[in-house]
């Protein structure tokens, strides 16, 4: 029996990431991102997942939407696919819901979707836990535990399901109120559940958005260490998250963008809430050191909440200039599996994989694997 995979591509997923909009919900946000010259990578990521599936299960049969919602991915690929539903541009979330229902009608064995939490919500609305599902991470927010860590890993998981693995678990679909988030207020809600493969690397338990309070002594220690590591003649790029924000204050920065990137320039001035294009320009003009912290409960270092670190920036960045910081308590939860990366390309994933030394205090580091 051929294995039947349903594929839904959310063509606007991820738009708001590099653009520093913290999400892509809403027509205005999507238009603004496009106008600023940003594009969605959803197709590219879906394509990587499809390649990983085809490499392992060549005889798989795909069922998908037309054009931007799926068929475009198969344009240059040697794969069997059927369009289950036509759409009219511009597509909306209703199209995702309807396509999911159509794929359910086609009795696919597994439904994979390329997008973020918003897309996961749409899928859950359509099929609840009736059909097994798996997310290809392509959105801005991916707090739900329904996503594979990388598109390639999604392919590996699909292949193991095709080979007969039948262990499932109900994974929560969580989303964040984007408007509140842009105003600096973090809070997430449970929207439902999807039935996902219970493979070890599907995703971590989604942690609560926002980290616990970190002791001032820990902040002070990490800040002191960063002061010593910093090359004053280069730019210091500060990533998102509460840990980095607390450090920024300790470093003397007047303000800090909780959910975005700031840059401490060599002349001492601050540039706030920079986007992917800004970082392109900056990294072309000067050497950069980038401070990041593993995001939320998932331990993903690149590709979650920090898509402003795009392909260009990461290609130029020396891995030794990626300064990873964390409190020891927060890092402890990632023992065993280590940290993960989902960079824009799989070559960049390989570049940043290995053993990382996370700064956990003044002259204190923790060695942890990044895979």
């Amino acid at each position: 029996m051929t294995f039947r995979v349903g594929l839904i591509v959310n063509p606007v997923a991820g738009l708001g990431g590099e653009a520093s909009f913290a999400g892509s919900d809403g027509v205005e946000i999507q238009a603004a991102a496009r106008e600023a010259g940003f594009v969605s990578n959803s197709h590219v990521r879906a394509g990587r997942a499809v390649d990983a599936i085809l490499a392992r299960v060549p005889e798989v049969e795909f069922f998908t939407g037309d054009g931007p919602m799926g068929a475009d991915v198969f344009g240059t690929r040697d794969a069997r696919f059927h369009v289950a539903r036509d759409t009219l541009a511009p597509t909306t979330r209703d199209d995702s819901v309807e396509l999911a229902r159509a794929l359910e009608g086609q009795r696919v064995d597994l439904l994979i979707f390329s997008g973020g939490d918003g897309t996961a919500r749409d899928i859950a609305d359509a099929i609840a836990d009736r059909l097994p599902a798996l997310g290809i991470p392509a959105g801005v927010k991916m707090h739900s535990s329904v996503f594979a860590v990388t598109p390639e890993r999604a392919g590996v998981i699909v292949a193991s399901v095709a080979a007969g693995s039948a262990a499932w678990e109900l994974a929560p679909v969580i989303d964040i109120d984007e408007k509140a988030r842009r105003a600096g207020v973090l809070g997430s809600r449970l929207y439902g559940h999807l039935r996902v493969p219970a493979a070890p690397r599907v995703a971590r338990q989604a942690g609560k958005a926002g980290s616990q309070v970190i002791a001032p002594s820990v902040i002070g220690g990490i800040a002191a260490e960063l002061q010593e590591r910093r090359r004053p003649e280069d730019a210091l790029v500060l990533g998102p998250g509460t840990t980095v924000r607390d450090i920024a204050t300790s470093l003397g920065c007047a303000s800090s963008t909780l959910l975005g990137f700031d840059v401490l320039m060599p002349d001492g001035s601050m540039r706030t809430n920079v986007d992917g294009h800004d970082l392109d320009e900056l990294s072309g003009a000067t050497r950069c050191q980038v401070v990041v912290s593993p995001i939320g409960g998932q331990g993903i270092l690149l590709g979650r909440g920090n898509q402003q670190l795009n392909e260009t920036v990461l290609t130029r960045l020396d891995p030794r200039d990626l300064l990873i910081i964390s409190s020891p308590d927060k890092l402890a939860q990632f023992a065993g599996v280590g940290l993960l990366v989902d960079a824009p390309t799989s070559e960049l994933n390989d570049k940043f994989r290995g053993v990382a030394r996370v700064i956990t205090g003044y002259r204190e580091e923790t060695a942890i694997t990044v895979s």
């Binding site: 890092l331 939860q333 023992a335 280590g338 290995g354 204190e364 580091e365 923790t366």
Partner: protein, 553 residues
């Protein structure tokens, strides 16, 4: 004995004792509030003028107090009653089945050894006595050094440390002195340790100025040799590691790990706090370690005594012997024992004089009473008891031994995870411990940060009877059941303890804590106690970078 045979033994019938435990509760005031002016414990006859005159100008006269003490005025019976009541409120190692204090090795401290410690020959020793008058004490130290050497395989031993952490500090200073002697102080400024090693490993290294790199375990609970090799470099001064770690599983690659560190030019320091399952079975020497230490109050039975006094032993290879702290004990029974200076490479003493003598006597007596065969039996029984408790806990839902799946054998302790129960009920392992106090028992979780979620570390040692192990597990089983029935009840515990809850903040803020009556008066009463005179160094003394002393007193 295989795990299956052990499981069969477990399911034999036994009746748990219903104790109806309730701790004594006295709400006892401070002794300074008891007593009354003029009340005296002992009536001293007044000295006559002739006697007083004889003391004029004498050393005793010079140190006589000018003003009254602020000691309480209180009678003997009242003193006795007061401290007895406080002791009744203490859930101590003599009183309860203390296997829940994992990593501390809460074994029986044989009371017979107190007879030796309290005898005048021990109690009236003074470290400045002429060596010819303390040959017995020196022989005890000498022989104990040999025993630790035999147990560890190391060439030289120092018994000077007053605690395990002091011994670890001593080892760090030896590492530092060794690299300094080779002109590599500046280049070798990093120490590697693991998250499951005692925090004192990282802390002493940091205090000595090293950059500390902590390794996390992989999924199997072991640090990975590949990760270690990535982190080792020409900057590494030492690898500080424990084996088995606090998870109780022995890393079979330890010799390769030591070799990798040696290849990078680093020394290997073995924290043997967890030696209780290894005695007579495996040694630091064969694994290639350069330095090791033991906690005499853990493995060697000296009392834990609420954080001290303790004693630590350092073991070193012959190459590192010149760097040991303080003086070297030399001689023999025939020619006599004495201390001599160790030489210019010796590191600073870890404390004044020779060691915590009462604890060295206790450890010596314990070791001699057991002998080599007995020590081996200690290890075997400790491992057996640990696996018995594990087999019984296999029957309890919601708890698993971390990293010990199926037939993998842990040694002398196990770090359990109660995360299953937590996911089902919301009750944490810490809260289980609070409720366990209502049964007269103690449960310790783990050092922070918690790598194993909802941890609880149990180390039965060789000292408890099967009946006692059963009683502990029975109580834990009851509490786990209560957590499922009525989580709120468990989380509100303890109900039968001497006090209900401590506020941790009160005990962790130097601004609010008072560790002495003087500090309490200064911070909370209006008394303006004298600030004790502090020695100020002369102008030309070397300037030491040091934090402003936290002024507790």
């Amino acid at each position: 004995m295989t795990m299956n045979e052990l499981r069969d033994a477990v399911s034999g019938s036994r009746r748990p004792v219903e104790r109806g435990y309730h701790a004594a509760r006295w709400n006892e005031p401070l002794i300074f509030s008891l007593g009354s002016p003029g009340e005296q414990g002992i009536v001293m006859p007044a000295a006559g003028s002739k006697a007083l005159g004889a003391f004029e100008g004498s050393p005793e006269d010079l140190i006589q107090r000018d003003d009254e003490t602020t000691l309480p005025e209180i009678g003997q019976a009242q003193v006795l009653r007061h401290f007895l009541r406080l002791s009744q409120e203490t859930l101590g190692a003599d009183l309860n089945v203390d296997i829940g204090q994992g990593t501390c090795t809460m074994k029986y401290s044989p009371k017979i050894n107190e007879v030796f410690v309290r005898s005048p020959q021990a109690a009236e020793l003074h470290p400045l006595q002429h060596p010819s008058t303390v040959q017995g004490a020196l022989q005890i130290i000498h022989d104990m050094e040999r025993y630790v050497g035999a147990i560890s395989g190391m060439d030289a031993v120092s018994l000077q440390a007053g605690a395990g952490s002091a011994a670890i500090w001593g080892n760090v200073k030896i590492v530092q002195a060794y690299h300094a002697s080779r002109g590599e102080s500046d280049t070798r400024d990093e120490v590697i340790t693991t998250i499951f090693s005692h925090p004192s490993n990282a802390a002493t290294a940091r205090t000595a100025g090293y950059r500390v790199i902590t390794l996390y375990p992989g999924d199997d609970g072991f640090i990975s040799r590949q990760v270690l090799e990535e982190v080792l470099s020409e900057r590494t001064a030492a690898l500080m590691i424990t084996n088995p770690e606090d998870t109780g599983i022995f890393n079979p690659e330890i010799a390769e790990i030591v070799r990798a560190a040696h290849d990078a030019g680093a020394l290997c320091v073995y924290d043997q706090a967890n030696a209780n399952g290894l005695l007579g079975i495996t040694r630091a020497r064969e694994a290639g370690f350069d330095l090791c230490h033991f906690n005499l109050h853990k493995t060697f039975s000296t009392p834990h005594a609420c954080g001290g006094p303790a004693a630590g032993a350092i073991g070193a290879t012959a190459a590192l012997e010149p760097f040991l702290p303080g003086y070297r004990l030399v001689g023999s029974e025939q020619e006599g024992f004495r201390y001599e200076a160790r030489g210019e490479n010796g590191t600073a003493p870890l404390r004044p004089f020779w060691g915590v003598m009462p604890n060295l006597i206790r450890a010596y007596a314990w070791t001699r009473a057991l002998g080599a065969e007995g020590l081996r039996e200690v290890a075997e029984v400790a491992v057996l008891n640990n696996n018995y408790v594990r087999a019984r806990l296999d029957d309890v839902d919601g708890v698993i031994p971390a990293y010990v799946e199926g037939d993998r054998i842990a040694l002398e302790q196990i770090r359990y995870s109660w995360d299953g129960l937590y996911q089902d009920t919301g009750v944490t392992s810490g809260e289980l411990g609070q409720r366990l106090a209502d049964f007269g028992m103690h449960l310790w979780t783990s050092h922070h940060p918690y790598v194993v979620p909802n941890p609880a570390t149990i180390e039965p040692t060789e000292s408890y009877s099967r009946r006692e192990l059963d009683e502990y597990v029975d109580a834990l089983t009851v509490v786990a059941g209560e957590a499922r029935e009525d989580p709120g009840f468990v989380r509100g515990a303890p109900y039968r303890s001497s006090i209900h809850r401590l506020r941790p903040d009160d005990m962790t803020d130097p601004g609010t804590w008072a560790t002495s009556w003087r500090a309490y008066r200064r911070k909370y009463l209006d008394g303006a106690p004298k600030v004790p005179v502090h020695w100020t160094p002369s102008e030309d003394a070397p300037r030491r970078e040091r934090q402003e002393k936290l002024f507790h007193r």
